[in-house]
Symmetry: C2
Subunit: 427 residues, 2 copies
């Protein structure tokens, strides 16, 4: 194994990357906006609500990305799929507050965002990845974005602040910015992988999640970069659910600057590739957990750890079924060990297992309690259970006792605040 | 077509059926119950919380039933599956407040409920169907049920009150009892079909719903009775969702006393069978809509009507996807025409269609407004839309414009009250 350090810096941790963000006024509803304000004064008066960001590398990067499987795809998804097809990218332009989905001129706007980014950075539009997040079905105006990009291109930073500003700019109903980075060595070359992401509603990813951008300076070809991304994604972003709704704008994208100076990774059986894959998984897992923890209205991170499954698919389906159940989520919100709902959610998951063998235990940093043995009730102290479930992070441990495969899914509790946020989202 | 009248009487509308309910103290938590109270005094002091009911026919009935597809099946489901296997039944015993699921002695209790019902009614235990609904994983005590059945057997009524008491006794978090009955003629013979049902959480049926009991006096064999039940079920109970959780106790059961005196229905191509099937569908549709309308915390009935689909499966999947989406449900709760969420939910449904052809309109008794044409935004008045969505019953009309099949699904809005009910369910 390699030695790994968690470090600051997010998407700017790896060599060669710069990032930055500004406010151009997309996030507020038109009714709340000063009608004649220009981009600069908006930026000053609403500086806490950045909504446009760029991640940029001075050289062309090998790159890979995964996109939503929703049949309704936002315009930037289609454009980015085209631009990533050659396995090369150099910049990402992203806005929040408007999804640029299901509008008549969405494609033109997404193409325009790539063009203005490319011309201001002196690169080609085909090497720009574009992403959007926010309200679906409202027109996104290009002109303010063009003004914003012009300013932004001069203000990009390779410091931690550049990454944090970008992580903040992609937030919608998120309550905190989500960053993660690690450093490690390949031979004597110091390498880094870092990323940012955002949630926090319409989160039930299928092949990718809302938005996540990852950078590395490792020298690795595009094919293996995609393979590592895809494998890690199956166990991280595809294992979270906030509300069961798969978004139209999901995207996870990785860019590798190749500036670490290691010998290029080209063999998928090499230790270097295995280590890189594992560390990419670690970074993405950290970001995915942050999304679940910060689910709309959530007060708790709920992990569901399924062991003893006959196949990974069964383990995955069972764990996702449990963390997706509204009834499990509301019970855990109230620290109520209503394990019958957990067993019920196990029961309607797709997979092969014998329910009369299933054990269920609940754990947190306050202890562990077994609530169900061989599919039937166990006597347990409700007081102890409630104490354990009062923690901020809860794990539901399920042993199917029918094999050796396992999987962990990540979700959050369901609270009245979720309803409030989503009833008022457009107002 | 036959002439049909809606009538009172629920499960007592058809000739030969009697029903009644008592309180035996299952519904309250042990902490709130007087420790030494006997069944009679409980029944008087808590008469508004009936929790045990019987539906009975003086003669043996042809019968059919459908059960939950959840791998976790409550004990009464297993016992009732055995008892219905011969296509004959004569009584139904049902309790609320405890699901009799996932406990070590659940089977014994379910068998005991059938035995005590049979001995008090003078019939055989194999002809008794048993059902339970309530908390999962808590032991159900047989002794109070035995006392209750003894009283109940003497108090059964063939009046409307017998049906209404039964409909009330099976309620858990339901806010109103759910009954429906129709009368019609086969030849010169007056026939009736009536039913009761209950919701209102853990409602996402798969082959059956929480609990529904239907009676008829039509002369019809068991095979055709099951066929009619299965067909109607696919378009009614299997088309509703309150919270996406498929229960461990779902059951719909129909009993035919054969007392109407019509010539026995034995030909599935006959007009009589087609009419019977359609009327059974009408009764079950009415009950299913009541479940959706009375979903936990719900303030609105939401129907999603999908037309122009290439197949019934596509129409079904799209309509169920829309009414199951937490984000659609919260938006409609606030009368917000956030149609982007509707399009998003269409997009992640399984099925074949071209999203760029899809039209979406919202309607209620206050009008209709088209919000999306050919998959893209239309200009519409938010004020008008909000007025239309302020109604108690809302229909989301989706035309996929890729075929001639259609389906309608029924759901409800998602409110803070849902969260409150389910956080506090066991307290």
């Amino acid at each position: 194994m390699v030695t790994v350090n968690q470090i600051d810096g997010g998407v700017c941790a790896a060599k060669g990357f710069m990032a930055g963000a500004v406010r151009v006024g997309i996030k507020s509803s038109p009714a709340n906006m000063p009608q004649n304000a220009d981009a600069d004064s908006l930026s000053d008066s609403f500086s806490e609500k950045k909504d446009l960001a760029i991640i940029y590398c001075a050289n062309k990067c090998n790159a890979a990305a995964l996109f939503t499987q929703n049949k309704v795809k936002a315009a930037p998804i289609t454009i980015s799929q085209n631009h990533i097809a050659n396995g090369v990218a150099q910049a990402i332009i992203v806005n929040s507050g408007n999804a640029n989905a299901c509008t008549p001129d969405g494609m033109e706007v997404a193409i325009g965002m790539c063009k203005t980014t490319a011309s201001n950075l002196g690169i080609t539009p085909d090497d720009v990845i574009v992403a959007s997040t926010g309200v679906i079905g409202q027109r996104l105006k290009l002109a303010p974005i063009e003004c914003g990009v012009e300013r932004l291109a001069k203000e990009l930073s390779m410091t931690s602040a550049g990454s944090t500003n970008t992580a903040e700019a992609i937030m919608t109903t998120d309550t905190f910015p989500k960053e993660c980075a690690v450093e490690f060595f390949i031979g004597d070359k110091r390498c880094a992988i870092g990323g940012i992401t955002k949630g926090s509603g319409m989160i039930h990813p299928n092949m990718a999640t809302m938005l996540s951008f990852i950078t590395t300076d490792v020298v690795i070809n595009s094919r293996l970069l995609e393979k590592a991304l895809r494998n890690a994604n199956e166990q991280t972003f595809n294992m979270i659910s906030v509300d069961g709704d798969t978004s139209t704008n999901d995207m996870v994208c990785i860019m590798a600057s190749g500036l670490a100076g290691n010998a290029e990774i080209t063999d998928e059986n090499s230790d270097e590739f295995k280590n890189f894959s594992f560390l990419l998984y670690s970074v993405m897992r950290s970001l995915a957990r942050d999304i679940a923890r910060d689910g709309e209205g959530a007060t708790k991170l709920i992990s569901c750890n399924v062991t003893g499954a006959g196949s990974f698919l069964t383990a995955r389906n069972v764990s996702k079924s449990v963390i997706s159940s509204n009834l499990v989520k509301t019970a855990l919100s109230a620290a109520d060990a209503n394990w019958g709902r957990i067993l019920c959610a196990i029961g309607y998951a797709d997979g092969e297992f014998d329910i009369s063998k299933v054990d269920v235990a609940l754990s947190s940093d306050k202890g562990t309690i077994t609530v169900c043995k061989d599919g039937a009730a166990l006597k347990f102290s409700e007081v102890n259970a409630s104490e354990i479930l009062s923690a901020d992070e809860i794990t539901v441990n399920i042993n199917l006792k029918s094999g050796n495969e396992s999987a962990t899914a990540y979700g959050c509790d369901l609270t009245s605040e979720y309803v409030k946020i989503n009833a008022e989202y457009r107002t």
